[in-house]
């Protein structure tokens, strides 16, 4: 492990040596490749980020879901069952959209929710006071609250990742800890997020949208993409192909 001597120089402000400078992380989801009855990405996320316990919550509405999957179809006004069945169903992955203008960060009274330099929207659990204003402000219902402490078995735990205590809000972090990972010498050695790693169909991609060599860049260049609720001007960075 590389040792950076802790001197009095504060690492407070993002300086030139910031590993995040110049990046703009984004996600591309290919709806067409997503298999309807596959939930590998969700399982992987829960395992990686210790949300598995929260997901096993007795009350479904109190559980935390960083990544979830909904099935949608065209709205058909008629009541004919046959027609309804005809309409193509799609499985759509929903995560935090990591907006460029995040309303959650705007309304947070203590700046616990913030947008990182590379565009990832995170919650500082050490600071959150649990007012849940961010959940009200989020147009995507992508924020979740830890209503209760959840008992965790030590063997189920990913010990390098925090578990949760009650009273703080949270959402998908785009596995920032994996993207920021460093190797033995302190050089960046990013890994892809857990959900992307788990997806066998290649439906998910996460990367730097400014980096011309990244998959995300190529996908965004080659395909027409849609974003959710673009009319609100939140500029989400999660893009859908074939929605």
């Amino acid at each position: 492990m590389a040792l950076r001597l802790l001197t009095t120089s504060s690492a407070g402000a993002p300086g030139k040596d910031s590993p995040l400078a110049g990046k703009r992380m984004g996600m591309v989801i290919d709806v067409g490749k997503c298999q309807p009855d596959c939930d590998k990405c969700i399982k992987a996320c829960q395992q990686e980020n210790n949300v598995v316990q929260a997901a096993a919550h007795k009350n479904h509405e109190l559980a935390v879901h960083w990544i979830r999957k909904v099935t949608i179809r065209k709205k058909i006004e008629t009541d004919e069952k046959a027609k309804k069945a005809e309409a193509a169903q799609k499985s759509v992955i929903l995560v935090c959209n990591h907006c460029d203008n995040p309303p959650c960060a705007q309304v947070c009274p203590v700046r616990a929710t913030f947008k990182r330099e590379d565009g990832i929207v995170l919650v500082d659990h050490h600071r959150c006071i649990g007012c849940r204003y961010c959940m009200i402000a989020c147009p995507y219902n992508a924020r979740y609250f830890n209503f209760e402490d959840v008992e965790v078995h030590e063997e189920d735990l990913n010990k390098d990742r925090p578990k949760r205590s009650h009273g703080v809000a949270e959402s998908c972090t785009l596995c920032a800890h994996r993207l920021d990972a460093v190797d033995q010498d302190g050089n960046p050695s990013p890994r892809v997020p857990a959900c992307v790693e788990a997806c066998e169909n290649g439906a998910l991609a996460v990367g730097d949208m400014n980096d011309k060599t990244s998959t995300v860049y190529e996908l965004l260049r080659d395909y027409a993409v849609k974003r959710l609720k673009e009319d609100l001007g939140t500029e989400p960075k999660v893009h859908y192909i074939g929605l």
């Binding site: 099935t71 959150c128 204003y133 009200i136 830890n146 009650h166 009273g167």
Partner: protein, 394 residues
């Protein structure tokens, strides 16, 4: 015209029972809040889809009541109407208490109460209404206290200055509270009319509360009170109610007019329990019946009828606060326009539900208990109530 203010003796059986009841409420509220601090707010009716519940409703309601009380004191303080001087002190005292109640309601609702007293002071976000409002609220409490002091020491010029300041500040406070809900994420919140209609409802409920309080207190302590004063307040209340009605009408008409909002408007008006509260609680009992009473020349001059109308308005505005806060959350955001969600294994599809839990009721009672307790103590130890309130003293 010399007005004498006198403390109540506070030795009667009823007074002690009231003190005991409110004290008990406060204790229950304290215990349930401690429970929440230890175990989290999982036992409330709130969920990930409806993250705000009764406590926020009550906070908004209390802050509104505070505004209205201040309006009554402003009749003397700002506009110099001497015949309302007898009510000035009690009005300002109530305004202060209700603002404290609003703050307490918000406080008890936080997930990490231990951090609330530290983090907001260290990290400040001026873009957030939740950061701006505490300044407005605490400033308002401070101004109210100065106002109270000026009234107690009978400083006439200071009273006028502070009262005017408090009046203006109160408008900021209540617009600020309305602005909490003003953003695009929730269809039913997104309305520039909200702060204005918020102020109107606040005036109505506050005036109504003052009428009930004044009549109740004067009757209970056997102090003479001129009916004419209350009748005038009743007419003022009627106008406020009319304005509230107007704003509600415009808001809903607008929602029906805009195509994108039509579905939400339909949900708001005919969507479930909140629609019941809206039609029965707010429109019928809260606005229509009081207006019938107040605009009727016979009942509009009878004190019991006016008190009845006021009580109904107080209840109606509580319903209004509920239908502001909750339906906006239970109505889900339309993530896929033109599509419908068939299956969502994580969250329940469609409209969410919210039901008030015992836990929240206990906390709300606790806040009420604290305020009621302080109010009773104030009656005993401060010279709040006049010996009489007459337009033409003998």
């Amino acid at each position: 015209m010399e007005i004498k203010f006198e403390r109540v003796e506070g030795t009667s059986f009823q007074y002690r029972v009231a003190l005991l009841v409110f004290g008990g409420f406060a204790l229950v509220g304290l215990l349930s809040t401690l429970w929440v601090m230890k175990y989290g707010i999982g036992r409330t009716g709130m969920t990930n889809r409806v993250p705000w519940g009764l406590q926020i409703v009550m906070a908004v309601y209390y802050i509104g009541l505070s505004a209205g009380s201040l309006v009554i004191s402003g009749l003397y303080g700002v506009f110099g109407k001497l015949e309302y001087k007898p009510f000035a002190r009690i009005a300002v005292y109530l305004a202060t208490l209700f603002l404290i109640a609003g703050l307490l309601s918000i406080l008890t609702d936080q997930g990490r109460l231990d951090r609330v007293f530290v983090q907001p002071f260290v990290h400040f976000n001026l873009q957030s209404m939740f950061s701006i409002n505490p300044i407005l609220y605490n400033g308002h409490i401070l101004i109210c206290l100065i106002y109270l002091w000026a009234l107690f020491t009978e400083r006439k010029r200071t009273t006028t200055v502070v009262a005017t300041l408090a009046f203006g500040w109160a408008f900021c406070v209540h617009s600020g509270t309305g602005a909490i809900f003003g953003f695009g994420a929730r269809v039913l919140y997104e309305s520039p009319l909200l702060p204005a209609s918020f102020v109107a409802a606040a005036m109505a409920s506050g005036t109504a509360l003052m009428i009930v309080m004044i009549v109740g207190l004067f009757r209970a302590t056997n102090r003479p009170l001129d009916d004419e004063l209350i009748c005038w307040l009743g007419r003022f209340l009627a106008i406020c109610v009319l304005v509230v009605f107007y704003f509600l009408f415009v808001e809903n008409a607008y929602r029906f007019y805009v195509v994108e909002l039509r579905e939400a408007a339909h949900y708001f008006l005919f969507g479930g329990f909140h629609s019941l509260l809206f039609w029965i609680g707010l429109i019928f009992f809260g606005l229509v019946v009081p207006m019938c009473i107040l605009f009727n020349p016979r009942t509009g001059k009878s004190i019991p009828w006016i008190v009845l109308a006021s009580s109904l308005v107080i209840f109606g505005v509580l319903c209004e606060r509920y239908v502001i806060v909750v339906p906006g959350l239970t109505n889900p955001p339309d993530l896929f326009p033109g599509m419908e969600i068939v299956h969502d294994p994580a969250l329940v599809e469609g409209y969410a539900t919210y039901s008030i839990s015992t836990q929240e009721v206990l906390q709300a009672l606790g806040v009420l208990g604290v305020v009621g307790f302080l109010f009773l103590l104030g009656l005993k130890y401060l010279e709040l109530l006049p010996t009489e309130a007459r337009i033409h003293p003998d």
